[in-house]
């Protein structure tokens, strides 16, 4: 997405909204996991597909939706 040409404040708002959306949807979950892994663990991290596979299994085995 090209953000050049937008006023600075608008650009920042759009960027914040996008990062919120990425975070809420789980789009950036793997990036967050890599950050965590680099900080806290040794050895190779899970691959992106393996990470999402595990994440989906976990997410949909508990109550995540309501009436």
């Amino acid at each position: 997405m090209s953000l050049a040409g937008m006023p600075r404040a608008l650009r920042r708002t759009v960027a914040t909204a996008m990062s919120w959306l990425r975070a809420v949807s789980g789009d950036d979950a793997y990036d967050r996991y890599l950050t965590h892994h680099a900080r806290a663990h040794q050895g190779p991290p899970l691959s992106r597909p393996a990470f999402y596979r595990e994440r989906e299994e976990r997410k949909w085995s508990g109550i995540t939706r309501c009436c």
Binding site: S19, V24, R32, R48, Y52, R55, W60, G62, T64, C67
Partner: protein, 694 residues
């Protein structure tokens, strides 16, 4: 400065509320309701919510949360509070606050609105925030685990059985809502059916082509689903295709049951997960769009403040305003279900206890606001139209002429040409007797969107609204079936250990079939009921939901008293007492009322009498034995809910008495204090050098 703002809010809120309450003769503008709501939420959040958080719950930002202590980059992840807010709101927001207020509008706009506001600020928000904090202090334990550990085994079993039953009732009633929205409507059916292959496509995309690119996959899915709304119109206009999607409710119920079973046993990534992503996006987007449209349009409310149906003879469901307005609104004011989400997933993301008010109290406020929008959408319709859409043929007669005559005789004039013109505008053959709330909400939403963004597209807006409701009803249906399956496997595992293994295929098949058969039965009976079925199922679900809320509030009250905060326990005890009264009175009336319109057993007796006397017409006589059986079964269920409710309350009372007498109590499961050292997490993720990237 804060005080001045507070006083100003109080004054504006009071003026708006007074305006709503005193405006009796002429129609009132929706803006009054919105203003009152926003002021009450702001006051509730700023003062009551803050006070409860600080003084009663002793929220302590210096205390490390489980997300910090167990940070594993997977389920325990300290997360920015607005992101957790989004997650939590998306999880608690379901079809309940859309359907409940729509049905409760039969009493007029006032009772529902007042309870949505008062019930959320004093009850629902407090419940959600309290359970969220208690679970956060206990490493994210679930409500059932907290009930077992803090109250005792009785509380634990009650919570487990209550949760499983409410899940089954919820899925059944939601399935019924979708079926009623799709019946004999090729456009709706084609659009809703198309969402299944769309979800599968998105699932394949996110699994194999671009793993984990959730935004990209969801954007693709949303675009395809919008295309399906338009495509449904094309199907509807095509004589051959139209016939292929024009189904009556019984086969549609069969499709929904089959869908639920298949979705429960397929791997999650293929159908469940992508559908859930789609529904979350549509939900957040449509709620935001609706809020903007209502503000821009600020429509007049046409429903009177109170209708004559407060006396208990409402056509949508029987029962007086007390206690049934509270039972019907349910999720928009206090929802026991939220306690299940507030314990478990969300607490593992909370970075600081200071965020609990925004996430617990704030999300419920927004949920309550969704309920306010639903009541506005229902009451801006001409009351005659509202009743014509929402009343079953068994109540008003099966022909259009009979229906308009009955409804007009109640003092809500409506004509056949008016209904035909409306149906034509919405792209439907008929809108009569589309019970369940979804179609009337869709008509309301279509007129809001149509009048705000251009009237030419009314039929597209109507089917967009139907699709929006169906998508997240179906995602509650398949996710709920799966969770029900896990709970059942957990229970069955006690009988025969291999049945408890969640990945053992025979156990998966058996438990999924049992769960689907459970809700499928209620859905089937609802479909064959000439009164529409919702009139029986929704109050039953409401009673179950409020019972679950009472269990959650009992757990909260018990913990407050145990931890020496009895002085402040009224914060949860108050809503608990109110819910106990409301639920008990409602359940009692459902059991013993001699009025066949309200009492389940009375209705079964009346129907059995008619059947024996041979006064029923042939089609009604054919289904009567099943309806009679079902009404008796529902009565047993109601009795069971009542028993569970009082067992838990008495168990909590016993615990509190022991505390007051200084007798030994079950140990607290609160995790020991550790000082928080975490920097507040940002909105964006910081990538390590040279890895990952987007």
């Amino acid at each position: 400065m804060n005080k001045i703002a507070g006083v100003l809010l109080a004054v504006v809120g009071a003026v708006a509320l007074a305006g709503i309450a005193l405006h009796r003769q002429e129609p009132i503008n929706a803006l009054w309701i919105i203003t009152a709501a926003v002021c009450i939420y702001a006051l509730g959040y700023r003062f009551y919510g803050a006070w409860v958080a600080a003084r009663v719950l002793s929220v302590d930002p210096s205390r490390a949360t489980p997300a910090e202590r167990y940070d594993n980059g997977r389920d325990f992840v300290p997360t920015h509070r607005w992101i957790v807010f989004g997650h939590h709101f998306a999880a608690i927001a379901g079809p309940g606050p859309l359907v409940g207020p729509t049905l409760a509008a039969q009493f007029g706009y006032l009772p529902g609105t007042l309870w949505i506001l008062a019930g959320s600020v004093l009850g629902g928000c407090v419940q959600d925030m309290t359970i969220l904090l208690l679970s956060t202090r206990r490493d994210g334990r679930s409500l059932g685990q907290m009930a077992r550990e803090e109250l005792g085994p009785l509380g634990g079993y009650a919570a487990l059985i209550g949760t499983l039953l409410i899940m089954i009732l919820l899925i059944a009633v939601l399935g019924l809502v979708v079926v009623n929205a799709m019946k004999n409507s090729a456009w709706s059916t084609a659009t809703v059916f198309a969402t299944v292959p769309v979800a599968i496509l998105v699932g394949l995309h996110m699994r194999h082509l671009r793993p984990g690119r959730i935004l990209e996959g969801s954007a693709l899915g949303v675009a395809l689903v919008l295309l399906a709304v338009w495509g449904g119109g094309w199907v509807d206009a095509h004589p051959l295709l139209r016939g292929m999607f024009d189904w009556s409710s019984l086969p549609l119920a069969g499709f929904v049951i089959g869908y639920g079973w298949i979705a429960a046993i397929l791997p999650v990534w293929l159908l469940l997960a992508p559908r859930d992503y789609l529904s979350t996006f549509l939900k957040l987007g449509t709620v935001a769009l609706l809020a903007v449209a209502i503000l821009l349009l600020h429509p007049q409310i046409k429903m009177p403040a109170l209708t004559q149906f407060v006396d208990g003879h409402g056509p949508l469901f029987g029962g007086k305003i007390f206690p049934f307005v509270f039972i019907t609104i349910a999720c928009g004011a206090v929802s026991g279900f939220h306690a299940l989400v507030a314990s478990g997933t969300t607490p593992k993301l909370i970075a600081s206890e200071a965020d609990v008010r925004l996430i617990g109290y704030g999300s419920m406020m927004l949920e309550s606001f969704v309920a306010i929008m639903a009541i506005i959408a229902a009451t801006l319709l001409d009351p005659g139209v509202y009743f014509a859409i929402n009343t079953g043929a068994g109540v008003v007669g099966s022909t259009a002429a009979a229906a308009v005559q009955t409804i007009s005789s109640w003092g809500f004039p409506v004509t056949v040409p008016q209904m035909q013109a409306l149906a034509h505008q919405m792209g439907e053959a008929t809108l009569f007797a589309r019970t369940g709330g979804a179609p009337s909400l869709a008509v309301g939403m279509a007129s809001i969107f149509g009048n705000t963004f251009g009237r030419g597209l009314l039929s597209v807006w109507y089917h967009f609204a139907i699709m929006f409701e169906a998508v997240f009803i179906l995602s509650t249906l398949d996710a709920g079936t799966r969770v029900g399956r896990f709970m059942l496997q957990d229970l069955l595992g006690h009988l025969y250990a291999p049945l408890g293994r969640t990945s053992w295929y025979p156990s998966v098949l058996l438990s999924s079939t049992i769960v689907v058969a459970g809700w499928g039965y209620f859905l089937y009976v609802g479909v064959i009921d000439p009164n529409g079925g919702v009139n029986i199922l929704w109050p039953l679900f409401g009673i179950a939901n409020q019972m679950l809320a009472a269990i959650a509030l009992s757990v909260a009250t018990g913990i407050l008293v145990k931890s020496g905060r009895a002085r402040h326990a009224w914060v949860t005890l108050g809503p608990l007492a109110w819910l106990a009264i409301v639920t008990t009175v409602a359940a009692w009336q459902k059991l013993v009322s001699p009025d066949a319109h309200i009492g389940l057993l009375a209705a079964a007796r009346a129907l059995a009498g008619q059947l024996a006397a041979g006064t029923l017409p042939a089609p009604a006589a054919a289904v009567a034995p099943q309806l009679i059986f079902n009404q008796r079964l529902d009565a047993w269920l109601t009795g069971l809910f009542l028993a569970i409710l009082w067992l838990v309350i008495l168990d909590t009372a016993r615990l509190c008495l022991r505390k007051l007498r200084g007798l030994p109590l079950p140990a607290s499961s609160e995790a020991p204090y550790r000082t928080a050292r975490l920097q507040p997490p940002g909105l964006t993720s910081q990538l390590p050098q040279g890895e990952g990237g987007t």
